[in-house]
């Protein structure tokens, strides 16, 4: 059964320097507060995995937590680029950032393989693109029945996956609903998992389009109301679109970013 912990305690015990860490949540339920706690605790040399690195990954990269980024789309949705990510890739500030770059279909299937206990997944993808030349974690596999050549991607097996969900019960069973993205796969693919939730309830009333992760496959649950802001938590709060727009200015300049980080994350 998952242990109910405080956020600082959960991050301290589950996320270690050098770990491969996946924070998932596809535009919805992004575990922003947990990511900022990782910054606060000064983790280093992380391999950060996420299909859609956005604001909180820009913060993690700008704060120097990451050595490598495994991703398929890195940007500020509806706004533009991630300036801290760009600065790290183009200028190596504050540290060089290796990129392992896939398509969404490839990343999703890498999580599926990890959750399924398989070393790889097969898909129709990448053929003819320059990703084939630049992404080392790609190969081909031949169908033993038809001879057709398809693309293979290796399983993703994070040391720890962090997600945010609407709620959990006291046994640590976790319930999320709405757009649930790739979170179930990301948790099941990982060795350890930390789930931040809006609230803990006595009973998880079944809901439409809900995914339940039983407590026995989750390592720890931390109650963090608003833990997904500025993204949204269906049924709890909406997306703060202004914050996404404002991030563009904050993140453009190193000093502005560093000041923002000290005031809003490091001291908090």
């Amino acid at each position: 059964m998952a242990e109910l912990v405080g956020l600082a305690e959960g991050v301290a015990s589950l996320v270690r320097d050098g770990d491969t860490v996946a924070l998932e949540g596809f535009t919805h339920l992004i575990p922003v507060r947990a990511g900022q706690e990782i910054i606060r605790q000064g983790r280093r040399d992380l391999t950060l995995v996420r299909m859609t690195p956005d604001i909180v990954y820009d913060q993690l990269i700008g704060a120097g937590c990451a050595r490598r980024l495994v991703f398929s789309w890195g940007g500020n949705p509806g706004v533009g680029s991630l300036h801290r990510m760009r600065d790290a890739v183009q200028n190596g500030w504050p540290a060089p950032l290796e990129l392992e770059e896939h398509s969404h279909a490839g990343m999703a299937n890498r999580y599926v393989a990890g959750a399924s206990g398989l070393p790889f997944a097969v898909l129709r993808g990448y053929a003819g693109t320059d990703l084939v030349a630049h992404t080392t974690s790609l190969a081909t596999v031949t169908c033993p029945f038809t001879g057709e050549v398809l693309t293979a991607v290796p399983a993703l097996r994070p040391d720890v996956t962090v997600i945010h969900a609407q709620r959990a019960d006291r046994e640590g069973n976790v319930q999320l609903w709405g757009l649930t993205g790739v979170q179930k796969e990301a948790v099941l693919a990982a060795s350890r998992s930390l789930v931040t939730v809006e609230e803990v309830v006595d009973e998880l009333e079944p809901l439409p389009d809900a995914v339940v992760l039983p407590g026995w496959v989750v390592t720890a649950v931390a109650v963090v109301p608003g833990g997904a802001r500025p993204s949204y938590a269906q049924g709890y709060y909406d997306r703060d679109n202004r914050a996404y727009l404002e991030w563009d200015a904050v993140s453009r300049d190193r000093d502005t970013f560093s000041a923002w980080l000290s005031e809003n994350v490091l001291v908090a």
Partner: protein, 251 residues
Amino acid sequence: MTYTAEEMMTVTAARALAGRTSCFVGIGLPSTAANLARRLHAPGLVLIYESGAIGAKPSRLPLSIGDGELAETADAVVTVPEVFNYWLQPGRIDVGFLSAAQLDRFGNLNTTTIGADYRNPVVRLPGAGGAPEIAASCREVFLMLRHSRRAFVERVDFVTSVGYGDGPGHRERLGLRGRGPVLLVTDIGVLEPDPASCELTLTKIHPGRTAAEARAATGWELAVSGTLAETEPPTDEELDVLRRLVKGSEP
């Protein structure tokens, strides 16, 4: 009624969705065009967002592909792996909408890096997202991009998504099942692939624009159709519905 170049682009793309069943939508102009089509001539058009909303019917333009209203109005909400594996990959979806930072005469797209060296780019772009498989697997691909020599290049710096590759037969050799880009809507006109050469060719010009402008804003020797037609300007109804849609969607 007067209208902007962007409105001309959106209306042109929306018109092209007539008769299509399903459309894989991103955010921005494509989403506006698809939602406009649903309000005009294609009320039954099925909108599929990579975030997992199948058959979304947003009342306002989503601000992100994961906008909560997409899930709340969808016929079915599925996981991200399912969208790509069960819905996109088998070629169930009629039209995929894409844009890019760069494209070439064969409709190959770059959303990854600007500059000769991938490891040391001049500009780092967001990356592939769902585009490579949308370009590969949708039955047809529609492109929307403003005309400029910076974007319409002889050779893209990085092939993120394949159009017609290096020309006729290349998609077949790669085993790509969709037909590829059949339409490119720009602020100057409409380009369609030449049936023989697969080269994007100017086939329609928007009212008040000229082929010369298009040539000047294209980084390769732009082919122009011998039977260059003029795009119908947006009707008052089209503009009215579009403007109400955009206005009603402001934060």
